[in-house]
């Protein structure tokens, strides 16, 4: 849908403060990655929302298809033994 003279789209990820992950916040159009950073700074961090920005060209992101969600994620549903609460430990046993 994007015509040749439209600036490419970049996805924006922001780290709110050191110690936490970068999180997807939205997207901007820009002629290149450097300008995408500048635009992301103006659009998404006007109120101290971040200390670090990542920009990624949207066309470089490979995403799973919602139609495949069942086969991708359902198999984890019946593997309840992966959770610690699956195991009954006698009350007498401490710090386990």
């Amino acid at each position: 849908m994007q015509s040749a003279n439209e600036w490419p789209l970049f996805e924006i990820f922001i780290r709110a403060r050191s110690g936490i992950d970068h999180k997807h916040v939205g997207s901007v159009h820009a002629s290149d990655a450097q300008l995408a950073l500048e635009h992301a700074r103006d659009v998404y961090t006007r109120r101290l929302e971040g200390v670090s920005i990542w920009v990624v060209r949207s066309s470089d992101i490979v995403a799973s298809d919602p139609a495949d969600a069942e086969e991708l994620f359902e198999p984890a549903r019946d593997k309840i033994y992966r959770h610690p609460t699956f195991y009954d430990i006698p009350e007498e046993v401490k710090t386990l």
Binding site: S3, G26, S27, D32, V43, I61
Partner: protein
């Protein structure tokens, strides 16, 4: 993800009544009923997609055109502080437009198409921005009333069924409260000032009161798309419900300012605990929407001029990016 290339509908829309489509539609509605969010790549009825594209893009256009009436006062703000506040507010409006265009693009429409629709006059935007701002008090009244009415509309949109729109609205609402409060602060200062300043505040209230009530859109009985939007949980409250809430919140704020709401029929109904208000001039609303408001032509001309004047910047940035790309590929070769 907000990725255009990925969200193109997988299959061409099937003819209506097709059993497979009906199954998909039933499943879709069940997800909505269960308060699940719809994301860009999920299957959605074409009408849902089109409704959202129309609504989100109109909303985005309103933010962009909304920069104009107040931008008019940036160079004439009464103090350096008021000027910096106003610049920050107008910049926020541009930001809101950017969040919303991004959200609309996830539905498969391009930014270029959207901007073209605005500049050609094909797209609609909120009727309110076609009114003039002759005095500084109008800047106060816009923040207090127009942003106040916008908040009323936008808070329920934070729970809209379409994920990207809901997320954009959460960001917008966080910033909108500053807009309303700075507007009320301007009104308060004028209302407590000289008789002339108070008169100026009253004049702005007189100009913006009725257009603000019109911002909620036609009465429920004349709003044909409302029921479907409610079923899809794009809309959560009717136009009339939100308008009533706005009046109930705002009248006491006007009283505190010592200003008079320009409605002789305004009256508190102690039985319903709501204010009853006079009839809205829907003929005026229709005229403004059709392009015959006081500033429609001026607003569009200003947008077109800004777009054209910025063309050399866009061209230069694109040429620079291309030069950098060529340099990199030459180095690699």
């Amino acid at each position: 993800m907000y990725t255009q290339g990925l969200d193109a509908p997988g299959s061409k829309s099937m003819p209506a009544g097709n059993a497979a489509t009906q199954r998909l539609e039933a499943k879709f509605q069940a997800r909505i009923d269960a308060e699940e969010k719809i994301e860009p790549k999920d299957w959605m009825p074409d009408a849902y997609r089109q409704t959202l594209i129309r609504q989100i893009s109109q909303h985005a256009h309103s933010e962009i055109v909304g920069m104009l009436p107040e931008g008019n006062w940036i160079t004439r703000a009464p103090s350096l502080l008021r000027k910096t506040i106003l610049i920050a507010k107008v910049q926020d409006e541009g930001g809101h437009g950017a969040y919303l265009y991004s959200a609309a693009e996830t539905l498969g429409v391009s930014r270029e198409q959207l901007i073209e629709q605005l500049l050609s006059g094909k797209a609609k935007y909120s009727s309110i921005f076609n009114y003039p701002t002759p005095t500084w008090a109008d800047v106060g009244a816009i923040g207090w009333l127009v942003d106040g009415a916008a908040i009323m509309n936008q808070i329920p949109l934070c729970r809209c069924s379409y994920g990207p729109y809901a997320r954009a609205m959460i960001r917008v609402c966080k910033e909108e409260s500053f807009h309303q409060r700075q507007g009320y602060d301007i009104m308060l200062r004028l209302a407590r000032g000289t008789a002339q300043q108070k008169q100026m505040a009253q004049g702005a209230l007189n100009r913006w009161w009725w257009p603000s009530l019109m911002m909620f859109g036609p009465s429920d009985v004349d709003s044909p798309h409302s029921a479907q939007s409610m079923r899809w949980k794009i809309k959560r409250f009717s136009n009339d419900e939100l308008r009533q809430k706005f009046v109930d919140f705002t009248v006491p704020q006007a009283e505190f300012l010592g200003l008079t709401v320009p409605d002789a029929q305004l009256q508190f109904d102690s039985a319903t605990q709501h204010y009853r208000f006079g009839a809205i001039d829907w003929a005026e609303f229709e005229q403004v929407l059709k392009g015959h408001g006081p500033c429609n032509r001026e607003r569009l001309a200003a947008r077109r001029d800004a777009h054209e004047s910025g063309r050399w910047v866009r061209d230069a940035a694109a040429a620079y990016a291309e030069k950098q790309r060529r340099r990199l590929s030459d180095q690699a070769a």
